[in-house]
């Protein structure tokens, strides 16, 4: 069974998005050994910059990465897929990699350093999304990908 780690910054605060996350995480566990890792968000201090926050969060994320992790970072400027294309990519990676690590940033996204170090950068949408909404959309598409790979029915 494919191992998937999802590293996210901060816990989800919106009650309905939290419920949606649990909904898809439960369903995803039929297809993958899924681990959900939440790292603490960096506090924005007086005089602190966005870069500083991203660097601090990048350090927290890096500590949770394992050697030889295949890292797929989520960023609006990354590669976009349609659902079939994304399923195809996941299927291919599940053959060549034992474990996939997805990284989803906080409100400010991910540091350039972290994005540069990723194996792939995935874009979920041209729209700017809240980081909590990104998680839901990501989990829904990952779930959909497995139903496509397994040729299962999934209502539109």
């Amino acid at each position: 069974m494919l191992k998937i780690r999802v590293i996210v910054v901060d816990r989800t605060r919106s009650p309905f998005l939290k419920q949606g996350e649990s909904f898809y995480l439960d369903r995803l566990r039929r297809y993958a050994r899924l681990e959900w890792v939440e790292v603490k968000p960096a506090k924005i201090r007086k005089g602190g910059t966005a870069d500083k926050v991203l660097a601090l969060e990048g350090t927290s994320i890096s500590k949770r990465l394992l050697p030889r992790d295949y890292i797929i970072a989520l960023d609006r400027a990354g590669k976009s897929y349609d659902s079939e294309g994304f399923a195809g990519r996941i299927q291919k990676l599940s053959i060549t990699q034992g474990r996939l690590t997805f990284v989803v940033g906080g409100p400010l996204g991910l540091s350039t350093e972290l994005l540069n170090g990723a194996n792939e950068i995935l874009s979920l949408s041209r729209f700017t999304l809240t980081h909590e909404m990104s998680r839901l959309l990501f989990l829904e598409q990952l779930y959909r990908a497995f139903t496509i790979i397994n040729n299962e029915k999934y209502h539109k």
Copy 2:
């Protein structure tokens, strides 16, 4: 105040997506006179085709359209925007139109006839989304558009 009608097929069944809808509908009412219209989904009868279902639902939707409605239909193959571009489009339309009517289909989408009759076709994502997820993403982006138009803060 801009009038916005959103015509959708069927009620939302997922509890968390229903909550998310209410969350954004409440917030949208600060910016627009919003009307949410649910039409009944067509039943898929033995030997019935997708085209038949879409035609029936198209008729139900057409009955709820008003003369001179400016219709924006949602379809994956439509025009995609980033959030700023979408906000710009809404702002422009709010000047030229008194009322905007968005149409969101059911599980099978919208009929070709309805899409052909729309003034614009909007694509939310390259991904295939459930029709319930489409509604949430749409409402969130519409809300975001108004915060952009009004130069208000909205957390990422």
